[in-house]
């Protein structure tokens, strides 16, 4: 260990503010990128679900229209 005690470790020979501030900010920035990526994935999942539901709705509407009969071409 390069330090005699935990207090010494935190103090970093007087430079504690700078060292810990650097590590903290770096962590925040990089974790921020990772978090943004994970959030974006969640949004994509939501969008995918919406897209799937819409596709199902359209498919159902098409199927029901085919059932009713091809003579009735009514606009929905």
């Amino acid at each position: 260990m390069a330090f005699d005690s935990f207090t010494d470790f935190v103090a970093m020979g007087g430079y504690g503010l700078y060292v810990w501030l650097s590590f903290f900010l770096s962590f925040v920035v990089l974790a921020g990128v990772a978090l943004e990526t994970l959030l974006a994935k969640r949004q994509l999942a939501k969008k995918s679900k919406q897209l799937q539901q819409r596709q199902e709705r359209l498919a159902r509407r098409k199927a029901s229209r085919a059932e009713v009969g091809d003579g009735n071409e009514s606009k929905t």
Binding site: M1, A2, F3, F9, M12, G13, G14, Y15, Y18, V19, L21, S22, F23, L25, S26, V29, L30, G32, V33, A34, E36, T37, L38, A40, K41, L44, A45, K47, S48, K49, L51, Q52
Partner: protein, 245 residues
């Protein structure tokens, strides 16, 4: 020779490859980064001149190196996208750019904070910091250009051209800023310009370098997976993937 790469032009194949590799890279990132940081912070000896403030080096040097590495990677993918029109290569540009920009910000922040105990002010126009600042502007330019287009494909092409122009300019910019700095401030001897660094400090630095390498790759992989999904959302395989995860 590159035939084994051909299947990966298909986004689905690339996605599955990324999915398989990502856990390994994340694990490697955690192992190397945690080891390197703890070693550097607690076990490496203090510096003769700078005391314990030098420990910022374990973040500053790797982030600076990979901020430039990411830009090169982005430019290479840009070239691939322009030459072979491969969509996955196009999508890798918005995947890489924010990661590279974040690394540049980390390099700037750590460099500036380190500057306070070293030079007395929160900002100095030294060669490395100025180069990193300009690199940040280059990244911002690429991202701004990409998002200015409604069509992502055209945006990616424009961003690709710009990153290629930027990568050619990077050595010129770096060289001219170094030269400008010696002109106006006289030679500043920084820790990195000394011919050798003690092995006890070099080893944790190398571990942190590896850690940042894995971190960069992991982040880019995660973002590229998202980009692939974003553009293939209408395909059933993508919708399945999103349901499962």
């Amino acid at each position: 020779m590159w035939r084994w790469l051909h299947p990966y032009a298909k986004p689905e194949a690339t996605y599955h490859l990324l999915q398989k590799l990502l856990p390994w890279f994340v694990a490697l990132t955690l192992v190397t980064l945690v080891t390197g940081v703890i070693w550097g912070l607690a076990f490496a000896p203090g510096d003769y001149q700078q005391g314990d403030s030098y420990r910022i080096i374990f973040l500053h040097v790797p982030s600076a190196i990979f901020s430039m590495g990411a830009y090169m990677g982005m430019a290479i993918m840009g070239a691939v996208a322009l030459i072979w029109q491969i969509k996955t290569a196009e999508w890798s540009i918005p995947a890489i750019a924010p990661v590279g920009a974040a690394l540049t910000v980390v390099a700037l922040l750590t460099g500036a904070i380190w500057g306070k105990p070293m030079w007395g002010t929160w900002w100095v126009w030294d060669a490395r910091l100025t180069s990193e600042l300009i690199l940040l502007f280059l990244y911002v330019g690429v991202m701004a250009l990409y998002f200015a287009f409604d069509d992502a494909r055209t945006g990616a092409k424009a961003a690709a051209i710009l990153s290629l122009v930027g990568v050619i300019n990077l050595p010129i910019i770096h060289f001219s800023v170094e030269w400008w700095n010696t002109l106006h401030q006289g030679a500043t001897i920084t820790k990195f310009e000394q011919p050798s660094i003690a092995t006890s400090m070099l080893i944790p630095l190398l571990i942190c370098l590896a850690g940042f390498a894995f971190l960069t790759v992991s982040l880019v992989m995660m973002r590229l997976k998202n980009e692939i999904l974003r553009h293939e959302l209408h395909r059933p395989w993508a919708q399945q993937r999103l349901e499962q995860d």
